[in-house]
Amino acid sequence: MSDKALKSQRTQMYVAFQTGATAFTLITLQDVSAIPNIGNPTKAKLDATDLDSVAKEYVAGLSDAAEMSLSYMLRGSVNQQRLRDLDGSGVISRFMICYSENTTQPTISPTTGVFTAPIGRSHSTFSAYVSSMAFSVAVDAVISGTIGLQVSGSVSTTIVAEA
């Protein structure tokens, strides 16, 4: 049973980092320890009750993707610095989370930043801006913090079928 479980270890998160008007480079987020609430959009509840209703009636409104709050440990890497650069800029970037079937990296278009997923690797893609990037300093602990990603639009997830 457990050999079919998709393990979280080796999950990697990528960003199409914009370096120019039509120039993008692929970066990997480093030292991330948790990525909660992938997808998990909530839909607005629209009241559709009318005089013929015998009980309250509703229809689904637009999806509103939750903000992701990644846990990470601080280090002086170039890739973490690039994410700090995104913090506060409001720039919406493309993100891809690739799961643990293999470690093949996705590729991106160097001019549009559009991802191409690696073959045989489940993945989630979305666009988001960095809404916060803070860390905490405490006695007897490594410096760690959270990265807030406000998803714009929807999260698209593809889970590769078992062989």
Partner: protein
């Protein structure tokens, strides 16, 4: 890794190293001459990442100072503390008499991140 760091910190502390006579041992001691110190890792808590391996390790390292008198054991432990406190966090400790070896022991536990 953290045991080696503890050893390096103890050696670098000249006052402590002189007081202990250079007798600081990992795990067990020859119990020949007091005072002496024994250190060992008693717990390990890794900071794992999703895709970058182990970011760091927080280890609990126990440091036992054995001496002929309680005062001597506590005094030498205080010397060790002068340098350890800036590279590690003191998380506990106690003093006791070791009936088997008829020595006094000052035991302290330090959290070391490597």
């Amino acid at each position: 890794m953290s045991a080696a760091k503890m050893h390096a910190l103890l050696i670098a502390n000249a006052a402590f190293w002189t007081a202990i006579g250079g007798r600081a041992y990992p795990h067990i001691s020859p119990r020949a001459v007091v005072p002496y110190a024994v250190y060992q890792v008693i717990a390990l808590s890794p900071n794992n990442t999703l895709s970058d391996g182990i970011h760091s390790r927080a280890s609990a390292v126990q440091l036992d100072i054995y001496a002929a008198t309680r005062a001597s054991a506590d005094q030498i432990a205080a010397l060790a503390e002068t340098s350890l406190q800036y590279a590690a966090a003191l998380t506990g400790g106690f003093s006791a008499q070791d009936a088997d070896s008829a020595t006094f022991r000052n035991s302290s536990t330090w959290s070391i991140i490597t």
